[in-house]
């Protein structure tokens, strides 16, 4: 077993985890945050995307032991009193269809906006290229991120 301390959405968590456990499962089963989804479990679909130390990553490919002392933001950490500007834009633009990929889309898009507050449509498409949406709402997702960026600037 490995002891790790992680900050998840601003809250410090001290956990003892098996060496072979992955961040995705630890977030869902130990921390109790089920926003990040397990789907392909091989880094292909992006449903498990979370932000680790400012970078959007697929949590299914990261051992929990690797992120000791890291600061993690999941989709649950995006909203404050109400929905975030980005989340609101997703609703306004019909970006969320079935919703399964949305926690990952939001995490990837939020990490982009944090480092690049005024991205181009092409930069947005690149940032969420690893997040598959089987409803095919890619255009609406790009519209939403663009709108959230414009509203901020």
């Amino acid at each position: 077993m490995t002891r790790i301390s992680i900050t998840v959405n601003g809250e410090r968590c001290h956990l003892e985890v098996p060496a072979d456990s992955f961040l995705l499962e630890v977030l869902r089963e130990r921390v109790g945050l089920t926003g990040a989804k397990g789907s392909c479990l091989e880094g292909e679909c992006g449903a498990c995307t979370v932000i680790v130390d400012g970078m959007a990553v697929t949590s299914c490919l990261i051992l929990a032991a690797e992120v000791d002392n890291a600061e993690i933001i999941t989709v649950e950490g995006l909203a404050g009193e109400g929905l975030s500007r980005l989340q609101r834009a997703f609703l306004d633009h019909g970006a969320a269809q079935c919703g399964f990929c949305i926690p990952g889309q939001l995490a990837a898009a939020q990490a982009l906006l944090d480092s690049n507050p005024a991205p181009t449509r092409e930069e947005i498409r690149e940032a969420v290229a690893g997040n598959l949406c089987r409803c095919g709402a890619y255009e609406q997702i790009a519209d939403a991120v663009l709108a959230a960026a414009e509203a901020t600037s």
Binding site: M1, C13, A19, F22, T49, V57, L61, I62, G130
Partner: protein
């Protein structure tokens, strides 16, 4: 419940995070049984999840200061430390300026989510014949710097990749850095990857090319390497020999493309037939050479 006690489970491996290169090399060299080295983990984690590897120990290199992310330009070489994530390489202004072909190759690896973790050293060590960065690195004449119990070695990438998912690493050795040669003032690089999608794609065929021009405009050096058409990344020596000493012309690039087919021995798989892959080799080589040549000519 946050911070709840964990259930008792059997772990498949022990996790170690050595704090120095010496400690890492010592662990690697003196541990019995299968040991897996972890850098970005984007390949290793999939292999662990699919039980394709059964390590007794996973050695995470992220806390080794000697491998810390960093790119250092020297007079003769550019050293990319083993823990440097691909995203750092593609965003580095000097890399974009001096090695546009490598930046093109890096940007085709997975997605931003992948490249935020994955490393250049890991892409090499995984030794997949379909890896994106080795063809460009091999065409440039990149070398792999290793550290081990017996000291440091510098191995040309062409010799480092020994076969299908096999490298020249000995037990107790790890990759410390990737060394790129400083290309001459009038040099150009270009990478092309044929796939079905722009992101999250494994190539049908990919090609890395490098051209160096002499003062009279003739090619004094040329590098061409192919991915996804052989058990390992292969250098197209016959095509390179055709170019060196001559003036760059579209006709010559087409000839080089055909000559490159000599080293390709593709197979059929779910992504493409062997025949299609082979047919794409001359086209990609010709186009990549044209871009590399234009970049060499446009160099300030």
């Amino acid at each position: 419940v946050r911070g709840a006690a964990s259930p008792q489970v059997k772990e498949r491996f022990i996790y170690y995070r050595p704090a120095s290169l010496d400690e890492a090399v010592d662990l690697l060299g003196n541990t019995d049984g299968e040991v897996s080295v972890l850098a970005g983990g984007t390949d290793l984690s999939v292999a662990i999840r699919h039980s394709e590897v059964h390590p007794r120990m996973v050695i995470d290199l992220k806390a080794v200061p000697e491998l810390a992310p960093g790119i250092a330009f020297g007079p003769d070489s550019c050293l990319i430390n083993a823990n440097t994530p691909l995203i750092t390489i593609e965003r580095d202004q000097e890399m974009r300026c001096h090695y546009p072909g490598l930046v093109e190759a890096v940007r085709t690896v997975g997605s931003v989510l992948t490249r935020n973790r994955a490393t250049l050293a890991g892409n090499i060590c995984n030794a997949s014949p379909a890896a994106d960065t080795p063809p460009m690195l091999m065409a440039m004449g990149a070398e792999v710097v290793t550290s081990g119990i017996e000291g440091e070695r510098v191995i040309p990438l062409d010799a480092f990749l020994t076969g299908y998912r096999k490298t020249a690493l000995k037990q107790g050795e790890l990759v410390r850095a990737v060394s790129l040669p400083r290309l001459g003032r009038r040099a150009g690089t270009a990478f092309l990857k044929l796939g079905i999608r722009k992101a999250m794609e494994i190539s049908v065929t990919c090609v890395g090319t490098m051209i160096g021009l002499a003062d009279d405009g003739a090619m004094h050096s040329a590098g061409i390497a192919l991915g996804s058409v052989a058990p390992r990344t292969v250098r197209a020596n016959p095509a390179e020999e055709l170019l060196v000493g001559s003036q760059p012309t579209p006709m010559l690039f087409a000839d080089a493309g055909r000559a490159a087919m000599e080293v390709a021995e593709p197979i059929d798989d779910l992504r493409a037939s062997a025949e299609y892959r082979m047919a794409m080799v001359p086209i990609l080589v010709e186009r990549a050479l044209a871009t590399a040549s234009r970049r060499a000519q446009d160099a300030p």
